[in-house]
């Protein structure tokens, strides 16, 4: 298998790694860069547990060949919090008990961030459609949706 040297920006840091050409970006993030927030649920783009933002667009990292990331800017769930403070979405998920087992949570956080970046004041329906590509088998979604709506309020009206 051919190997490719990839240079990109992940969560604001310039990084580089060597990857086999057929490897997924998800595996490169986890195995080469140690960013294990994104998870492999299905490996076929159905569950959203591997969601990242690449070049401003929410995508499933399991569907991206790692060499495609050359020159790209990537945000993973590890990029949401600042040095000493959780992102409002993370804080609201904690306080709203929007997770149980936690496998899907990094993907939901990234998908919710992509939504709020584009639409800071979504309706409940818009939240549910925007998160349709993320599956959760624990929560029944209601607490996730409420937590995203609460985070949207907090981001719009900082304390």
């Amino acid at each position: 298998m051919s190997r490719t040297h990839v240079n990109c920006e992940v969560n604001g840091d310039a990084v580089d790694f060597l990857t086999e050409d057929g490897e997924s970006l998800l595996n490169a993030l986890r195995d080469e860069l140690g960013l294990i927030g994104a998870k492999e649920g299905c490996g076929t783009g159905d569950c959203g547990a591997c969601s990242i933002i690449m070049n401003g667009r929410l995508q499933c990292s399991c569907l991206i060949f790692a060499p495609e990331a050359d020159g790209a800017a990537i945000t993973t769930c590890e990029g949401l919090a600042s040095a000493d403070e959780l992102h409002p979405l993370q804080q609201c998920f904690l306080e709203g008990a929007a997770l149980q087992c936690g496998i899907c949570t990094p993907g939901f956080l990234v998908a919710a961030k992509a939504l709020l970046d584009e639409n800071p004041d979504p309706t409940e329906t818009e939240v549910r459609y925007a998160l349709a590509g993320n599956l959760c088998r624990c929560t029944g979604y209601d607490k996730i949706v409420r937590s995203v709506l609460e985070a949207a309020v907090q981001i719009r009206t900082p304390a």
Partner: protein
Amino acid sequence: MRYAAPTTIDEARALLAADGDAIVFAGATDVVPQMRGGRPEPSMVIDLKKIDRLMSVGLEGDTWSVGAAVPTSVLTADAAFTADFPGLSEAAGLIGSDQIQNRCSLGGNLCNASPAADSVPALVVNDAVAVIAGGGGERRVSVAEVVTGPGQTSLAHDEIVVCFEMARPAARTSDAYLRLIPRTEMDIAVVGAGVRITLDGDGTVSAASVALGAVAPTVVRVPAAEAALVGSSLDDAALAAAAAAASDACNPIDDKRGTIDYRRQVAGVLTRRAAGIAADRIRTRNGQTSNEERAS
């Protein structure tokens, strides 16, 4: 396996021509799951997203050109494109999740050759032409001629779909696409129906196109339904005749998504409803009372 990201069509074609086991991809939203399932097992994956022409959307004169690798989320966010082709835009917006629509493309949706591809009936009713780069230069074929069966296309190994060309719709013309799935998001069509109609000044249908997805090995154009609509005022009798013609045109399979009888019936219902939506779009655009408003 190798990954290649050519920046020109010639370079991409040379890579394909030199390797019978190479494949091209745009979003890879179908290719990667298929590879994980063991088929295909390419020696090389050729990324088409670095080729400008395949990633461009634009209007030249009265013709839209849509790059074959453009993510569908770009099309659904394009107000001018969506105003001209609301049905095609809504079909593109039904494919998978936001994550998928930020990668998947019209070229991929067509060349994957699923009978249930949502964008294909909508392309067909708009008389979209696929521009295909191959050995003898470029050829232009109707989108309806590209897919020959489930997973099968008429493309030679070293041919690439570059873009789709569509004439801007004539005055008082609009389209609509409806699909039935058992849930509201993230499923594959049980039946899909695309309709485009043109109304003359007194509300009579002067032209109609009807195409169905997921009811036969390829997308089906339904001339009998079109004939039933043309010359009518979209009255109940005409709509019922179009629905019956659509049901008759189906050659579906029984599977976990639906039975043959169910698909036939739904094809008629969706055809009728999509015709009504397309007509309402024309009337709304022209400041006339829509059917929905009349009913309320």
